[in-house]
């Protein structure tokens, strides 16, 4: 069901909406005059952070759990549960690390938050730090996003000047600092342990788990890594009451709560980012929000949430015959008509990922599309694990050869072997992120691949952009 909302996005179209003044005005409009701050002496806004710092740390985590915020970075792990893994260490400090290394092809949501609503991030960091017992939050932003970094720095300066950040936020004796850290152009640094290595000043190669970041993360200390959108929605949940926030979602009962940013891009008439209640379907996202497909063409396929999520074709159905399955309600329904959620997309054989859908119209060459993505993974594999380093390169080269008409059927079949030999044999999920979409293309568009092998189609005629 399609329901629009404007918590994070309320300031998106406001003149200088990224300033503290605009943020506080929006909060007042959304949550009433109390949001302007009757309590505390630090000058007004950031009511959610002020409220959280008046609670006990345990209560903050318990409350956060009720929001059912599933991690917005792709894996969909419940945020509150992640916070609850943090146990105080006798000698080591704790850290909150925010992942803003947005680089998953098809994903364009975090950048809008940093550029247009940076205060939601800072306020979320204060609540998150307090909840997990940290005094410093590092926001890891990919280097290319210069405007995002500047807006975050601006928001930090404003919050500091008001006394919301620093040694005694809102007069409370609990120091919180937010530091913007910059990457240097590596997709892999969006993987949490790789990000931690990069933050520490090392090559961004993923670490073996365990130990998990909650035991030994940044600088060897207990650490929570949250996606930027995840932390940015926290103030909204606390302002509203976390359970109330969760109930906005159609999937509240299966633990997937609230609102989130949905993106749509590729061959749609109105690409962009929209804030909606969780529960919207892909069909609504593509046709109602995205305005339908360019030139009113038919849809070839959609990648539901970033390039690592296997694509869906418009004729696929949900299979959940078991009556006890929470997905049974949608058994036999078209994948485009199922509410977009972490668990529902898993039942559809793909992943919700980052919730930004890339749409391809009929006329797009799926072989060329796969080659584009495989060349991405080839370029971005960090090279630490052999199956991924060699496998991603192999996938790229063999698909390239297929497009050139120089490959045999055996080589086409070998792509399955290569992909299957990456899966499960690497330190991080990058391997699966490469192999799963590759297998999706191969299974769903086998005939197109065969046509190139047989010489019935030529690379020169293959298109990604529509005329």
């Amino acid at each position: 069901m399609l329901t629009r909302s404007a918590y994070l996005t309320k300031v998106y179209n406001v003149d200088k909406g990224w300033t503290l003044e605009a943020y506080e005005r929006a909060q007042t409009e959304l949550f009433g005059a109390a949001a302007a701050g009757a309590s505390g002496g630090a000058g007004g806004g950031y009511r959610a952070a002020r409220k959280a710092l008046g609670m006990t740390q345990a209560d903050v985590v318990t409350e956060a759990k009720k929001a059912n915020i599933r991690g917005r970075g792709g894996a969909g792990f419940p945020m509150g549960v992640k916070w609850s893994f943090m146990k105080p260490h006798p000698t080591k400090p704790a850290y909150l690390v925010i992942n803003a290394d947005e680089g998953e092809p098809g994903t364009h949501k975090d950048r809008t938050i940093m550029e247009l609503n940076p205060h939601s991030v800072i306020e979320g960091c204060i609540i998150g730090c307090f909840g997990i017992g940290a005094h410093v939050a590092y926001v890891y932003v990919r280097d290319e996003l210069h405007l995002s970094k500047a807006r975050l720095e601006g928001a930090i300066a404003e919050a500091k000047a008001k006394g919301y950040l620093g040694k005694t936020p809102f007069g409370r004796d609990y120091a919180v600092e937010v530091v913007v850290h910059t990457g240097a152009g590596a997709y892999i640094c969006g993987e949490e342990t790789s990000l931690l290595n990069s933050l520490e000043g090392r090559r961004g190669e993923p670490r073996l788990k365990p130990p998990f970041p909650a035991q030994a993360g940044a600088f060897g200390c207990p650490t929570t890594v949250n996606n930027l959108e995840t932390i940015a929605i926290v103030p909204t949940a606390f302002n509203m009451g976390c359970e109330e926030f969760s109930k906005l979602s159609l999937l509240h009962k299966i633990g997937d709560g609230g609102t989130r940013l949905f993106g749509v891009n590729g061959h749609v008439k109105n690409p962009g980012i929209h804030e909606l209640h969780v529960g919207v379907t892909l069909r609504e996202l593509i046709y109602d929000i995205g305005g339908g497909i360019l030139g009113d063409r038919e849809m070839l396929a959609v990648i539901p949430g970033g390039s690592s999520t296997p694509l869906l074709t418009p004729d696929e159905l949900i299979v959940a015959p078991d009556e006890k399955s929470p997905m049974h309600e949608w058994h036999g329904k078209n994948v485009l008509d199922v509410p977009l959620g972490v668990d529902t997309m898993r039942a559809a054989g793909t992943m919700l990922g980052t919730c930004c859908a890339t749409v391809m119209a009929v006329g797009t060459c799926p072989v060329l599309a796969m080659q584009n993505l495989m060349s991405f993974y080839h370029h971005e594999s960090c090279g630490q694990c052999t199956p991924c380093r060699e496998g991603s390169a192999w996938l790229d080269r063999v698909v390239d050869k297929i497009l050139d008409g120089h490959a045999s059927m055996e080589e086409l079949d070998s792509l399955h072997d290569i992909a299957n030999n990456i899966m499960g044999n690497t330190i991080c999920a990058f391997g699966e992120g490469t192999a799963m979409p590759a297998l999706g293309f191969l299974r769903k568009f086998r005939k197109d691949f065969e046509a190139y092998v047989r010489g019935e189609r030529k690379r020169a005629d293959a298109r990604l952009a529509l005329d």
Partner: protein
């Protein structure tokens, strides 16, 4: 040849060091400061960073070679990055790249003879909703049309 940061950037370095529990964590931000000043990272800079942060030069070199955005060779005064990943490609990144190559008279990966512009392809720059796009130095240009690309490149090269 030895390398040294300008006094102003030295101050930036001091501020950076105060933000982290270890010196090593400043490695990437410091390399950015050096590259901002020198345009690319050579061995003199690697040794400088290693010295400042008490790290082996091999560690710094390892970091430099890992990340795409550290230039290991001299580059042009301006850098044009054309995003070529799928969402942009679906919206015409291929023709944007061709237009850039034609207008600048170079291929992706090359620098114009006058040293003004280096043209490169980029992997997803998180602008999929406003594709196609290019990045010129620190700025994003989105929802590109051929006219707009022409205008941007003319400004850079004239």
């Amino acid at each position: 040849m030895t390398f040294a940061l300008t006094t102003e950037r030295e101050r930036d370095l001091e501020a950076l060091l105060s933000k982290y529990p270890t010196k090593m964590a400043v490695c990437i931000p410091l390399l950015h400061l050096c590259q901002e000043q020198h345009g690319h990272i050579d061995d003199a800079i690697v040794d400088y960073v290693a010295g400042k942060l008490d790290l082996p030069s091999a560690h710094v070199k390892g970091v430099v070679t890992f990340y795409t955005l550290f230039n290991q060779q001299p580059v042009g005064k301006h850098q044009v990055w054309v995003c070529k990943t799928l969402p942009c490609a679906l919206r015409g990144a291929g023709s944007v790249l061709k237009q850039c190559e034609k207008k600048l008279g170079i291929h992706a990966g090359q620098t114009t003879k006058d040293g003004k512009v280096t043209l490169r392809t980029a992997e997803c720059l998180a602008s999929c909703g406003t594709a196609p796009m290019i990045q010129v130095d620190k700025d994003y240009y989105e929802n590109l049309t051929p006219d707009r690309v022409d205008e941007i490149l003319t400004r850079l090269t004239s």
